[in-house]
């Protein structure tokens, strides 16, 4: 329990950063995890190939929502090309909990990243978790 829900996760879950919607976003993407009904929508503002603002909303477990919150903190100010290469290892490092051997919960943790990639690479190109 303490492993899975350390203080940082609960803090982001209860007080998510960059939560809400952007008006007239340049890119907007939404992904679902059909196994558990988690849903994340990500709105991005892009100026001169740099992500200048991000908002997310959705519903889901503490891990999916906290991971989205942490990811948005990283994205603001990041060049689009770097965001396209944002790896799942980098996100899992941020979350900082051992999920490698938890195939169900790792999908929760990676949902926000999957949404980001789907948005950056275009609709209908949501990658499998293995390709993140």
């Amino acid at each position: 329990m303490d492993d899975l829900y350390r203080e940082l996760i609960l803090e982001h879950y209860k007080h998510p950063h960059n939560h809400g919607r952007l008006e007239h976003p340049d890119i907007s993407a939404e992904e679902h995890n059909p196994l558990c009904g988690d849903r994340i929508r990500l709105d991005l503002r892009i100026e001169h190939d740099v992500i200048t603002d991000v908002r997310f909303d959705g519903r889901g477990c503490a891990i999916s929502q906290a991971s989205a919150s942490m990811l948005t903190d990283e994205l603001i100010g990041m060049p689009v090309e770097e965001a396209k290469r944002f790896s799942k290892e980098r996100l899992l490092d941020l979350i900082g909990i051992p999920l490698e051997h938890n195939p169900v919960r790792i999908k929760c943790a990676l949902l926000a990243l999957k949404t980001l990639k789907a948005g950056l690479y275009g609709v209908g190109h949501a990658p499998d978790d293995d390709d993140l």
Partner: protein
């Protein structure tokens, strides 16, 4: 209601010792297994039965003219007889061994459905069906042009039957669960069967959640098909049952082609075996079928009526205790009347995965998600629920642990 009341009627501690897995520690606590609606635990004698087959008389069935094969065939067919008596089938020829409930329903949809349904025919289901009693009918409707209709639910999660006779017009088959795997609702199958037959329809009953938990008598219910899985009733995975009226089964074409299901095979055509062999192509799950027979013996020795009474008492206790958890909503009937021991709930807006993970850290195994009932969850307007489900080995003390862990989870995430 206390746990000692249960103990007087039912030596629960002795019974629990029959299940080796229940005595192992889980995350530093004693395992409280509250997910039997997904798959039950297995008593020692069922595990031993599997091992005994492989150690002592492993051989293919219905083939060899040597001692081992005869012994395996005898045990396999004896298991069929045990299952037939367990559900009060008229003949053991009415018992078809399949992999699970899903395969049993697909068999009927493919074999009976493809031959008998035409464009415009109707199939009546309900909103509470498990995907296994929905998707095969959607696929059948796509192949034949038949239409699906649905019985709706009232606010307590019971079928609305006010307009049943009108809804049965033009219906060829009613396919209905006897007990919801989410709401716990027990449906009045005998009454619906009577009215379905009066309207000229057949009725298939999904017994996955009922056959393990209550006495089920196919003749008393007067139904046409019954599907259920071994692994939810103390037997291994990989073995399930389709029971069908013999007259119906005999008119149905094969589902899968191959060995065992034939009489005479030539290069361009074959004649098919009598039922039930016609529906059992290929080498069956021999050890698992024999172990299902052992599980049936075990359940009958404990007594299905006693199992039902025990779970009902536990369910009543759980409903009372959970009502005291702040922010908890139980879906389905709020009393034990016509209700089985699957209790799905939400805890404020804490996600069911978080609830389940919190319970797991206390050694309590529950299920979280949509439980293979996405349309039902859409109807309930929740993306997912947490489900605790009971079986003969569960105790009031485990319910107390569930309640305490839920209070803890609410404080953590709330």
């Amino acid at each position: 209601m206390t746990s000692s009341m249960t103990l007087d009627q039912f030596d629960i501690l002795a019974l629990r010792r029959e299940f080796p897995i229940l005595s192992q520690p889980m995350n530093g606590k004693t395992l409280a297994f509250l997910d039997s609606a997904a798959s039950s635990q297995k008593p020692r004698r069922v595990i031993d039965c599997l091992e005994d087959y492989y150690r002592r008389y492993n051989a293919n069935v219905h083939r060899g003219v040597y001692r081992l094969s005869e012994e395996a065939t005898f045990a396999f067919e004896r298991a069929r007889g045990k299952v037939a008596r367990f559900i009060n089938a008229r003949s053991q020829r009415e018992v078809v061994f399949v992999r699970n409930t899903t395969e049993a329903i697909n068999l009927v949809a493919r074999s009976w459905g493809d031959v008998n349904l035409r464009e415009g025919d109707r199939i009546l289901l309900s909103v509470m069906e498990h995907h296994s009693n929905l998707v095969p009918w959607q696929m059948l409707a796509q192949r034949t042009g038949a239409k699906l209709e649905f019985l709706s639910l009232d606010g307590e999660g019971r079928l609305v039957l006010d307009h049943l006779d009108a809804q049965l017009q033009g219906v060829r088959l009613v396919a209905l669960t006897q007990q919801s795997n989410v709401l716990g609702t027990i449906n009045p199958v005998a009454e619906i069967a009577r009215r379905a037959h009066a309207a000229g329809a057949l009725i298939l009953v999904d017994g996955a959640q009922s056959v393990p938990h209550m006495p089920v008598d196919v003749q008393a219910l007067d139904i046409d098909f019954l599907a259920f899985s071994g692994h939810k009733m103390c037997a291994p995975t990989g073995i399930g049952v389709l029971w069908g009226r013999r007259a119906l089964l005999e008119q149905m074409p094969p589902f899968l082609g191959g060995g065992s299901m034939i009489k005479v095979v030539s290069l361009h055509e074959s004649s098919y075996a009598d039922v039930p062999a016609r529906f059992e192509a290929g080498t069956p799950a021999i050890a698992e079928a024999i172990a299902l027979g052992e599980a049936v013996d075990f359940l009958q020795e404990v007594g299905m009526a006693r199992i039902y009474a025990h779970e009902r008492e536990l369910l009543g206790y759980a409903i009372d205790r959970l009502a005291g958890v702040e922010g908890l909503t139980i879906y389905g009937p709020q009393t034990t009347e016509m209700r089985g021991g699957a209790l799905s709930f939400t805890l404020e807006d804490v996600h069911p995965h978080d609830v389940a993970a919190a319970l797991d850290s206390e050694g309590i195994a529950v299920r979280a998600g949509h439980h293979c009932t996405q349309p039902l969850h859409a109807h309930l307007n929740v993306p997912a629920t947490t489900r605790a489900s009971f079986y003969l080995y569960n105790t009031a003390e485990e319910v107390d642990r569930l309640v305490a862990a839920l209070d803890k989870a609410r404080n953590l995430f709330g």
